[in-house]
């Protein structure tokens, strides 16, 4: 699924990174547990989370995750935005819950990691 479609479907706002609209994401994973995110072997996925702290950005960096969608109307902290811009992570914010955002993306063809 194209990044532009993810942004449209979830009513998302881009708050950091270069949201190059043609970027293609193949799978997504929803989790508030970074320990679980770090066990994934799949790269270039979309991470949907309701957590907003610096470790989300660090976890994404180490796990080769290029796009993170912050759900439940959470806003990224200035430190998160700064680090995301530095590491090249695209940070998005959606007013939808994790369930709603995940459901919409799944329904429209974005596959799960497992």
């Amino acid at each position: 699924m194209k990044l532009s479609e993810i942004i449209d479907l979830t009513n998302a706002k881009v708050v950091a990174g270069d949201a190059e609209k043609d970027r293609e994401l193949l799978r997504a994973f929803s989790s508030d547990l970074m320990s679980d995110v770090l066990t994934l072997d799949t790269e270039h996925i979309l991470l949907i989370t309701g957590l907003t702290n610096l470790q989300i950005v660090r976890t994404a960096e180490m796990a080769d995750i290029e796009v993170v969608l912050l759900a439940r109307n959470k806003t990224a902290t200035p430190e998160m935005i700064e680090l995301a811009n530095e590491t090249g992570l695209v940070l998005l914010e959606t007013p939808f819950s994790i369930y709603r955002a995940s459901g919409l993306l799944f329904q429209n063809g974005l596959d799960p990691v497992y």
Binding site: M34, S35, L54, R58, E61
Partner: protein
């Protein structure tokens, strides 16, 4: 090539600095991205462990022609039961650490899974030493 980092206890804002530096360096050395991901995930987990569980410590990383060796050493309190700590799901993490998205009892097993060689030694009241290596 040798790198050394101090890791402060409880300072989550800095957790990930060592792994980030090492990741950049390995990228510059044009190491296979799959190999980079495995080692930096292991290093990051180890860093978070020192921040979350110990009174502080340090990390030494040595990159040679064939791979990278990492030693993570903290100054206590040490792990009471290493066998339990190595089980997935076992954790002694505080609520604050869990609120950060960690402390699910996946750290040490995940380090073991992502490395080619891994040893852990710990003594109560003294500290814990992890040594791991990945070949390029």
């Amino acid at each position: 090539m040798k790198l050394e980092f101090d890791i402060a206890s409880g300072d989550f804002s800095k957790a990930g600095r060592a792994s980030s530096r090492i990741k950049k360096m390995l990228k510059q050395l044009q190491v296979d991205p799959k190999v980079i991901k495995r080692i930096v995930v292991a290093i990051y987990e180890a860093e978070v462990n020192v921040v979350a569980h110990s009174v502080g410590g340090k990390m030494l990383a040595e990159i040679d022609g064939t791979g990278i060796t990492v030693i993570v050493q903290d100054n206590g309190p040490g792990i009471e039961d290493i066998e339990k700590a190595m089980q997935e799901g076992y954790s002694t993490a505080s609520k604050a650490v869990r609120n950060m998205g960690f402390g699910a009892g996946m750290g040490l097993p995940n380090i073991n899974r992502n490395t080619d060689e891994f040893t852990i030694e710990s003594e109560l009241g003294v500290g814990t030493v992890l040594t791991f290596r990945n070949n390029f």
